[in-house]
């Protein structure tokens, strides 16, 4: 395999770090928007960004910490939660960010009128 592809893909750390940094910036900026402008879009966007960050961190960490003993400890409901919650967080996070961005855009255009 090509060396560059190997660095980028095999451990995936570089690109994941890029994505996590972007999401973190998005969350911080949304919180600042919400505090400075009192626009509800910023709050919604920060909630969405935090949900996406949580799901992504879980997906990054889970292969290293989840093993049979933990699965045995949390039981069937916990196992189904580990399957169900990350996609739910990803979906809701994306919806929150898009909704928040829409709200902020509407707030801005009302402000500029």
């Amino acid at each position: 395999m090509n060396l560059l592809l190997e660095i980028v893909l095999k451990n995936g750390l570089l690109l994941d770090a890029v994505g996590v940094i972007g999401l973190g910036l998005l969350g911080l900026a949304a919180i600042k928007l919400a505090r400075r402008d009192q626009s509800w879009g910023g709050t919604m966007m920060s909630v969405g960004a935090i949900a996406l960050l949580l799901a992504r961190l879980y997906l990054l960490v889970s292969p290293h910490i989840i093993d049979d003993s933990i699965l045995h400890m949390i039981g069937p409901i916990g196992i189904s939660l580990t399957i169900a919650v990350p996609p739910l967080l990803l979906t809701l996070g994306l919806a929150g960010i898009v909704w928040g961005l829409w709200g902020h855009e509407r707030w801005l255009s009302e402000e500029s009128l």
């Binding site: 994505g19 961005l101 855009e105 255009s109």
Partner: protein, 136 residues
């Protein structure tokens, strides 16, 4: 040639891909409208990020969910297609999603003036400084 499995639109299995497509398109449209209000590099970064994310969410992710593109896993040896194709799509997905979030986050951060330095503090009472100097 890979057979595309039949996937009726808006059935329970197709809700998430349809949702992702709608969100991706909506994100691009809102970013375009926001770019008319925001100015300069913030607008450019937001639009660039939204285009990458829209490509990722509206095209690549639904293709993954529909099973048209095979998932790449490092230890996996058996693919229906070729391993190189799966690897290439994995690269496309990782690049578009992660760089999309980075650009979008940077754009919104610039828009919120998160990265700019705070306004320099004004000297509150310059007259004392002047009088001291004249006394010396």
């Amino acid at each position: 040639m890979m057979q595309i499995p039949p996937l009726p639109l808006a059935s329970i299995e197709a809700v998430r891909p349809v949702f992702l497509i709608i969100m991706g398109i909506f994100l691009m449209v809102i970013a375009w409208r926001l770019s008319k209000i925001a100015t300069g590099w913030a607008a450019r970064m937001i639009v660039a990020g939204a285009l990458l994310l829209g490509f990722g969410y509206a095209i690549v992710m639904p293709l993954y969910e529909a099973g048209v593109i095979e998932r790449y896993a490092p230890g996996r040896t058996h693919y229906h297609g070729t391993a190189a194709t799966a690897l290439a799509w994995q690269a496309v997905k990782l690049l578009s999603m992660n760089c999309g979030w980075l650009f979008f986050g940077l754009g919104v951060a610039l828009h919120a003036k998160l990265l700019s330095a705070p306004a320099p503090r004004r000297a509150t009472n310059p007259s004392t400084f002047v009088s001291n100097e004249s006394a010396a």
